[in-house]
Symmetry: C2
Subunit: 415 residues, 2 copies
């Protein structure tokens, strides 16, 4: 960290203490094999069914001495017996019995994030626990940290390989610090919710069952990582009127996978399985209705412009898709057309042409509908190497011009 | 082989010769990435798409010298060039080009099976190529051989472990020789079909496209192994009026898997994944509607009888399901009842209670319908360790009596 830029922690000191026990718990609680949360007058407990007969309990400790000052809590005061006693109160009238304790620990919830995630020259970066700490309840310690380092890694790799300009490194702190801030704000709401007493109606001071449920459901977005939405930057387009071409591909959010059918052999594939994390940007050409001459003309001009784009960023000795991968999805089923009726740029790699249709196993057929793309006119989307939607545009030469402009600020041209 | 019992071959000597080439074939044939069969005036060719860009062609050689005598064909006369020339004629007007030949071979189709698969004392057994040879077209050489040895292995293992009576060994030859005979008879029909010329109408001498297709579809049963149906024996019940309790579980055929939902955690599972090949017989209790008092009474008497059955064959130190595994599937969804409302024998292992309902991912909910089991009255099925349906009966003490009788001839009791 440079002297001129100190990374200091923003946030609160311990207020919430959680105990965790892994065991082959014996109980008559009927939902013990389901992910469930018990919100009681004696505190809150989360049930995480694990492999085999194992169960993890997250138990909120209501009666531990806390300290509003900056002093650390005394962990040595807490014993597994205290965790079990709390859990028994929370589960009552159901019985709990621990034949073993495989592992246990105490989490002291500090909700803090650092001022900076990088020095001003983008030479030193911090990630994970070094720049944010928060509640362990949804396993976001590990998940947020992996996403930090993934976000950083692909940018560093592309810069080091000379494929991208160093300016993309600035987006690391911009994206991940914002996310840490959002996560911690949400975690605070969530932690308070768990600490509040359950009540029967909104007239009382506390949390009703309905309020509790609704916040838990919002929390699923953070748990799954799908709530992340990156703000506009060098690498993420601004949400413009183009977004209406594919409202199901929100700019700044992770692409949701759909099953599409490969033209050459009619086999169904999840789009995510066609998009490995391999440092390549991806251009998804939802070609629309390629049997309509007017649309085919647009597809042809777009393909010509994309071919020029591919050439610009590809080493002369390389393959056309070494830096940017191109995947085409027609709205027509595979039996309606031969691939040769499309511009060869779109099927020179025959594994890259797909169709939005129901496959023999009943999967697929929902891509255009879920992405809210018009089946006649289609749309083109640019996907970042980490799977986030960067841009949405028209199937036309003008549409590809916008993609040209996007890459001009990011990728180093060869020609 | 004992002197008194010679195993001799039944069948024909070479009449059909097939060539096989694996390569990165280049072609403008549009269906090259699909499993397809080309039946032409120049012969027949099968296309097997393989991993990556590889393609396997099975090419029928029309012009090879054949010999109706018992003499072997001269393989040295055949070259890859001959295979390629034949394939080019068959594919015309599409073009074929071989940039490489990864592997090639010639198959001479001998359709033969042995008189005996075992000596008269059941001490020596033969399996696989030792007792049947036939066309390689559907890969049944390997598949039939694996099924031979699997059929033999579980019987041998149960006898050697002292779990089953040696008399079950007689069913090996009975079951697998019949199958080999059926397969070879079908293969003969199939081989002739391939050799016959394509014609436009049934008035001409030859095979129409429709006839060709329909036999190909029948052949899928042999390819997938699902056409196997074992005749009644010590280990496979006779088809009686009980079959009407579950027409979708044909006695003598392999159980088709359905997705069912586990009661304890509402997760969907394929039944096959709950039935590993682990030397255990399985009793599937399709309990019917367990919310109806009259049906629940039948479930209770059946469970009591099954518990006695389990005890009879289980070592005193063992688990109740060491020799026979019990899996229960209610027609009621999991949310409609607590497992404690059923006899504890059916849920003492909580992972073994399932429900016929649609799971959160949309799978499941078809088990009773596909097995054609009444949702009120249910049915009990006995499944052999190799997954074949052995018996179907009523949910009642009398029904379980039939299961008792079945096992009395097979399993060695402990008590």
């Amino acid at each position: 960290m440079s002297d001129s830029k100190q990374s200091v922690a923003h946030g609160t000191f311990p207020h919430y203490v959680w105990g965790v026990i892994d065991s082959h718990l014996q109980t008559d609680f009927p939902d013990i094999r389901n992910r469930s949360t018990i919100h009681s007058h004696y505190g809150t407990c989360m049930v995480i069914p694990r492999e085999g007969d194992r169960v993890r309990l997250y138990i909120q400790l209501a009666n531990v001495e806390k300290d509003d000052s900056n002093e650390r809590m005394d962990r040595s005061k807490i014993t597994p017996k205290m965790l079990m006693d709390s859990a028994r109160q929370i589960f009552s009238p159901y019985k709990l019995n621990w034949p073993d304790v495989e592992w246990w620990t105490i989490y002291i919830v500090s909700q803090r994030y650092a001022s900076y995630f990088a020095d001003e020259n983008e030479r030193i970066f911090i990630a994970g626990d070094a720049c944010h700490t928060h509640s362990p309840k949804a396993g976001q310690g590990m998940n947020a940290s992996m996403n930090d380092t993934h976000n950083l890694a692909w940018k560093l790799a592309m810069v080091i390989k000379g494929l991208a300009y160093p300016s993309i490194l600035k987006t690391y702190e911009f994206e991940r610090r914002n996310y840490a801030k959002q996560l911690i704000e949400f975690d605070r709401t969530f932690a308070k919710l768990f600490a509040d007493k359950p009540v029967q109606s909104t007239d009382e001071v506390g949390v009703t069952h309905e309020e509790f449920r609704s916040v838990l459901q919002m929390f699923n977005g953070f748990t799954s990582g799908l709530a992340v939405m990156y703000e506009p930057s060098l690498i993420t387009g601004r949400v413009s009127e183009n977004q209406s071409l594919a409202e199901g591909l929100p700019i700044g959010k992770s692409l949701m996978s759909q099953v599409v059918v490969r033209h050459v052999d009619a086999r169904p594939f999840h789009m995510h399985d066609q998009m490995p994390t391999d440092l390549r940007f991806r251009v998804l050409i939802f070609a629309g209705d390629c049997l309509l001459p007017a649309q085919l003309a647009k597809i042809e001009e777009a393909a010509k412009a994309l071919q020029a784009l591919a050439k610009r960023y590809t080493p002369p000795s390389g393959n056309y898709d070494d830096v940017i991968d191109f995947i085409t999805v027609s709205s027509n089923p595979h039996a309606e057309y031969e691939k040769e009726s499309l511009p060869s740029f779109l099927w020179q790699n025959k594994w890259k042409l797909f169709c939005d249709e129901v496959a023999i196993d009943g999967s697929g057929g929902n891509a255009y509908r879920r992405y809210k793309i018009d089946k006649t006119n289609g749309a083109i989307a640019v996907i970042r190497p980490d799977g986030y939607v960067a841009q949405v545009t028209h199937v036309s030469a003008l549409g590809v011009k916008e993609i040209d402009d996007y890459f001009a600020n990011i990728l180093v041209p060869y020609t």
